[in-house]
Symmetry: C2
Subunit: 269 residues, 2 copies
DNA sequence: AACGATTTGTTCGTATGTATC
DNA sequence: TGATACATACGAACAAATCGT
């Protein structure tokens, strides 16, 4: 009797799912049926289901029923590449298409902003300095896959990178464009963490409204050959359908798993 | 009336927390007080709090109250280093201690196992082949920080790496030890994903029992100069107190933030 | 050590709203 | 349109944990 009833019910159902007694995508018994099976009230049954929902095992759909969630093919992103990322966009398109998936980026939303504390610290500029913000929504197979925002110091525009402040895709990627303007990225540093999504992210990624699926947040800071920082790219994507690869040293090329798709966070237009 | 009441209450409380009207560690009004404030029933107030709990913003303690969770200093791990990782252990110890934190690894639990599908696929051996499994619990400041399991093909032992099957720390790390036996790691590949913790992980990391905090799972496969795979290291750590850094190309050395601690997943004894 | 007050945890019942088929 | 199934919201009672007296 140590365990509350709703936990016992949840445990029992979880067991049936793991054993395969209830297969992926299949419907659970309705709340009414579960009331009978476990001799519990509807609220108690619902508490048990809520626990499974929080753990990401099942998904309730109003008017239909509760279903065992189906795992999606993870989207694989390679974080290590050539610092001079001119080819990264090509890799992105090639490999995504090779996986039979269709990539699509929204038209960038370009804004001139003043740097907040995070941006200023990342770019080693002063808080309040002007920066260009370029924001894009990225899709695969019409599924929302990542939200990306890049920040560039306004001084880059003064140095001739005028296309940064145009609300159009930069063919080949902004990093390659800047390289052509004499600002060649010689290195970058990524910082990966996980946090709860905000309302906008929850809506865009169509994440369950209970906020149970966290998102990856990747900060990429790019460096020029004088050691200065010329860009900060923040990529946000759901943690339940993404995986990241890091290759160091000599790593033989491997055949990508048939179901995997590969992209890079640098395909910023 | 679009938003249900319990969400409105949750949103309002979340705002007060973000603005700082309720500071970290402070107690929220009791359920009774919230009932009065929002003119709602206790169950509705509890639903709102449950939402905040799921998002990791607050924590309810029976008999005491509900409190705003306090964020811990994230533990920073650098995933890119020298492939020949002999020095990584030194970096680990130096930087962790520089951060004023005390690292501690458990004595390794060494087992001879037959490779399961995942291990076999990662090491490119057959399922059922014998492998050495070395498992360690890693702590910082007596706080559980990561669970690490390394798998080596049994053939390495035949080639002279006999210390792999001894249940003692390998000074300088197993990778350096193997390099001394002629098996020098020339590269590795990490794969980072996030998933719900299992029961053991939940208990070890003292994660909230509702399974709301996911864990990072990092697979590191090491390669020798002939392109073969000689080890698989799986590192699991809570996603709420860890961050990962990846450096590519020329990245100037930066002063680590005062509150950050740096380690590497390769400090396998 | 015992007790009461406070606070959250669990479980029931009931009614009504909303989404889907 | 009706039936079904989940979502929200109310009220009530008792259990369990915590803290101070």
């Amino acid at each position: 009797m140590a365990e509350p009833m709703y936990r016992q019910i949840a445990e029992d159902l979880r067991g049936k799912i793991e054993v395969g007694e209830i297969v992926q995508g299949a419907q659970l018994p309705t709340e009414i049926e579960l009331m009978d099976q476990y001799d519990a009230s509807r609220n108690t049954v619902r508490d048990a289901i809520k626990l499974l929902t929080t753990r990401g095992l099942v998904e309730a759909r109003a008017g239909q029923g509760t279903f065992v969630v189906e795992k999606v093919n993870p989207f694989v992103t390679i974080l290590t590449g050539e610092p001079d990322a001119g080819v990264e966009t090509d890799i992105y398109i090639a490999e995504v298409k090779a996986g039979g998936r269709e990539p699509h980026n929204s038209t960038p939303r370009v804004e001139i902003q003043t740097a907040n504390a995070v941006v200023a610290d990342s770019l080693r500029i002063d808080e309040g300095d002007q920066v260009v913000s370029r924001h894009q929504e990225r899709f695969i197979d019409r599924t929302p896959w990542s939200l990306q925002t890049s920040f560039y110091p306004m001084s880059l525009v003064d140095k001739g990178a005028t296309r940064l402040i145009q609300a159009t895709d930069i063919a080949g990627g902004a990093v390659a464009y800047l390289a052509g303007k004499g600002m060649k990225q010689v290195g970058y540093r990524d910082s990966i963490s996980v946090r709860a999504p905000d309302d906008h992210e929850q809506a865009f990624f169509k994440l369950p409204s209970d906020g149970r699926v966290p998102v990856f947040e990747i900060f990429r800071v790019g460096f020029l050959d004088d050691g200065s920082r010329f860009r900060l790219t923040i990529t946000v994507c759901p943690s339940d359908r993404n995986r990241f690869l890091i290759k160091v040293g000599e790593v033989p090329a491997t055949v990508a798993p048939h179901d995997a798709t590969v992209a890079t966070p640098d395909s910023q237009g």
